[in-house]
């Protein structure tokens, strides 16, 4: 074997991994641009307020809708994708997200997660956490049903006492069950959790590829790149010894699982 064999072998890397790798950092760059724009808009807003105050006009706090680094949105069920101030699409939604969901195997769902269940299994010395949950759909774009409930799955793994892998959202879903979920719909594909032999699509049609939660200011924060500490999942799953046989013979939601219902 020589180095060219590695280069040829790279052709067989999953499209999913290549996509993620090539898109890595774009969101951060976009945040940077948005942040820059926010600063500029804030400066303008401050200037306007200053002029208004100088002109002795009264200005209420509620008149200033732009806040540094955050994008207020209307979280009302009927229209979560629109800005509360202008009624326009959220900046990152109209560009990055619309590109993302334009691909057939992606879906964006605004909904509430419940029946969150996590199990762990070990392979090659790495502990894998597989979390399945239901999402009650509030709004959806493409690929997913317009309403009702769907079942999704996400995976984490433990590397040197840190949870990593992608996506790293299990704990956040517990704390913020109502969120935007970026989902992959590839039910006929194989997505294996490490070398465990477990195809996560055996347990759900949708795999979580990203997650946006609302912060206290009403902004949407992407948490797909967040790394959680090992302690985050302590007590979240039990110590049931899981293997392929277990997955083949038992219903995923029965017997060994720790259930957290919202």
């Amino acid at each position: 074997m020589n180095s060219y064999d590695i280069l040829y072998g790279m052709e067989y890397v999953d499209t999913d991994i290549i996509n993620k790798a090539l898109n890595y950092g774009k969101k951060r760059r976009m945040y940077g641009i948005i942040k820059g724009l926010s600063v500029a808009c804030l400066a303008v807003a401050v200037l306007v307020v200053g002029i208004n105050v100088q002109n002795t006009l009264s200005v209420k706090n509620s008149d200033i809708t732009m806040r540094f680094g955050v994008f207020p949105v209307n979280t009302a069920i009927e229209n979560p994708f629109k800005s509360e101030s202008s009624g326009a699409d959220i900046p990152w939604f109209s560009t990055y997200m619309s590109n993302l969901i334009n691909k057939d195997n992606k879906a964006l769902v605004y909904g509430t997660a419940y029946n969150i269940q996590t199990v762990k299994t070990t392979s090659d010395g790495i502990t894998w956490y597989i979390t399945v949950f239901d999402i009650i759909i509030i709004r959806t774009i493409k690929t997913a049903p317009e309403s009702g409930t769907i079942k999704a799955v996400c995976i984490n793994y433990d590397e040197s006492q840190r949870l990593s892998g992608y996506p790293q959202v299990s704990m956040d879903i517990l704390n913020n069950p109502t969120a935007f979920f970026v989902l992959y719909y590839e039910p006929n594909e194989m997505f294996e959790a490490g070398n465990t032999g477990i195809n996560v699509y055996d347990y759900a049609d949708y795999r979580v590829g990203g997650y946006y939660k609302a912060d206290k200011n009403g902004a949407w924060i992407y948490t797909g790149d967040v790394y959680f500490t090992f302690d985050d999942l302590k007590g979240f799953c039990n110590n049931a010894p899981l293997d392929e046989e277990f997955f083949a013979s038992e219903s995923f939601s029965e017997k060994y699982l720790t259930s957290n219902t919202h």
């Binding site: 020589n2 060219y4 064999d5 280069l7 067989y12 999953d14 790798a21 490490g194």
Partner: protein, 186 residues
């Protein structure tokens, strides 16, 4: 034009498919091929090879959702073939650098493997990559799949060049260990 519409043209055997593909991805494919071959004419030929391959294979196996990466694979493969046939002193600086780096992982220099073996090796690389952090995956894919320069990777990911090199070095070491642990004779 939307990717799915372009794929539809291929399936319908409409020759506009090539023109649309070229208009949308020609520049990107040329860059990938040029990185590997280092020669403009060769790169152009590789891109044309990719179009022919796409024309022949898309109707039976349409790459819905990943047309860009599919075309990149074809162009890259053609470029690697061109490069491998050349004598070492005629290879591009980028590919020479990349192959030298990868010798850290595989150093026996034996003859090329079969496609089946490449596929098996690819599966192992795939499993290895799944275990890596997203940033490390990004650096590795950009360097060894998309054959980007260290300077470009650093710029795009907001890293210093030394940090990028350090990540690549660690990844190669880990890959070597992983392949050895899987019984690969390296």
């Amino acid at each position: 034009m939307d990717d799915n519409e372009i794929i539809g043209l291929y399936i319908a055997r409409d020759e506009k498919a090539i023109a649309e593909t070229s208009a949308k991805y020609g520049g990107y494919l040329k860059t990938v091929a040029l990185n590997v071959t280092g020669d403009d004419a060769d790169a152009e030929e590789c891109v044309n090879d990719a179009y022919i391959q796409a024309w022949n294979s898309i109707p039976s196996d349409p790459p819905y959702g990943y047309l860009k990466i599919y075309l990149c694979r074809l162009a890259r493969h053609a470029a690697l073939d061109v490069c491998r046939k050349r004598s070492a002193d005629k290879r591009s600086a980028v590919i020479t650098g990349i192959t030298e780096e990868l010798e850290q992982c595989v150093s026996d220099g034996s003859d090329a493997q079969t496609e089946l073996e490449s596929r098996e090796l690819g599966k192992l690389i795939n499993a290895f990559l799944k275990k890596q952090k997203p940033l490390y995956q990004a650096v590795f894919i950009r360097r060894y799949f998309q054959t980007e320069s260290v300077a470009d990777i650093s710029k795009k990911l907001g890293l210093s060049q030394s940090k990028t090199k350090s990540i690549m070095f660690r990844m190669r070491n880990k890959l070597k260990e992983y392949l050895e642990s899987e019984g690969y004779n390296i």
